[in-house]
């Protein structure tokens, strides 16, 4: 597996609080992605990055923001967490048109 780590791996937070999830890679891949996984929905793209400080929205970006100040780090922020954002969040990296490598995931519960 590519060197992708996510932190935290588990988090419980209250509605209305800000939350930041971190993805770190050691593969120097240009592209980084944030997905959420919910039963019956597969993996849905939240945001992605195609370079340092270059990001774009995915299909479910409302309520989320991202930042990439270094090649190896991609942060996902929930400005004000809601219960609908309870999910498993996966970070992935890749070189563009080929395969993506996924991190171990973060299980987020918003109470």
């Amino acid at each position: 597996d590519a060197g992708i780590t996510q932190s935290p791996r588990h988090k419980v937070t209250e509605t209305g609080t800000p939350v930041t999830l971190r993805c770190h890679q050691t593969e120097n891949h240009r592209y980084m992605y944030w997905y959420r996984q919910d039963p019956g929905h597969g993996l849905r793209l939240i945001h992605y990055s195609y370079g340092v400080k270059d990001t774009d929205k995915g299909e479910v970006s409302d309520g989320y923001s991202v930042s990439r100040s270094k090649t190896e780090d991609f942060l996902l922020t929930l400005e004000s967490a809601t219960s609908s954002q309870t999910s498993v969040y996966f970070c992935a990296t890749g070189q563009g048109m080929g395969e993506q490598y996924f991190g171990p995931g973060t299980r987020l519960t918003v109470t």
């Binding site: 592209y31 993996l43 563009g96 048109m97 991190g103």
Partner: protein, 111 residues
């Protein structure tokens, strides 16, 4: 936007039997990828198909890409307990570097 549908959602298979999962895109794809996710794990890349009508094999797994590059299938022969997991197809459009995932086929094997 691009949509990828996958059927069936669940597949109960007797050990030793064959099964097929199908994937259909609403738009023509640049390529299609298949991933496997074991229970509690993260998606892991299996294969990428690029050419119209392409067929690739990995041991007991056979992957096909349709002539119109809008559909794909995964056929597993002689299912084993190690095949348990969720299989996702993911389509990459011609315009960008994003993947659109199908909802997945969850495979359960009866010994």
């Amino acid at each position: 936007g691009q949509q990828v549908m996958q059927i069936p959602q669940y597949q109960h298979v007797q050990e030793g039997e064959d099964f097929t999962t199908y994937c259909n895109s609403s738009t023509t794809l640049s390529n299609i990828q298949w991933y496997k996710q074991r229970p509690g794990g993260h998606p892991v890349f299996l294969i990428q198909l690029v050419k119209s009508g392409e067929v690739k094999k990995q041991k007991r797994l056979t992957f096909q890409f349709g002539e119109a590059k809008k559909n794909s299938s995964l056929h597993i022969t002689a299912t084993q307990t190690t095949d348990v997991g969720t299989y996702f197809c993911a389509g990459q459009g011609t315009a960008g570097n994003k993947l659109t995932f199908g909802g997945g086929t969850r495979v359960l094997v009866k010994p």
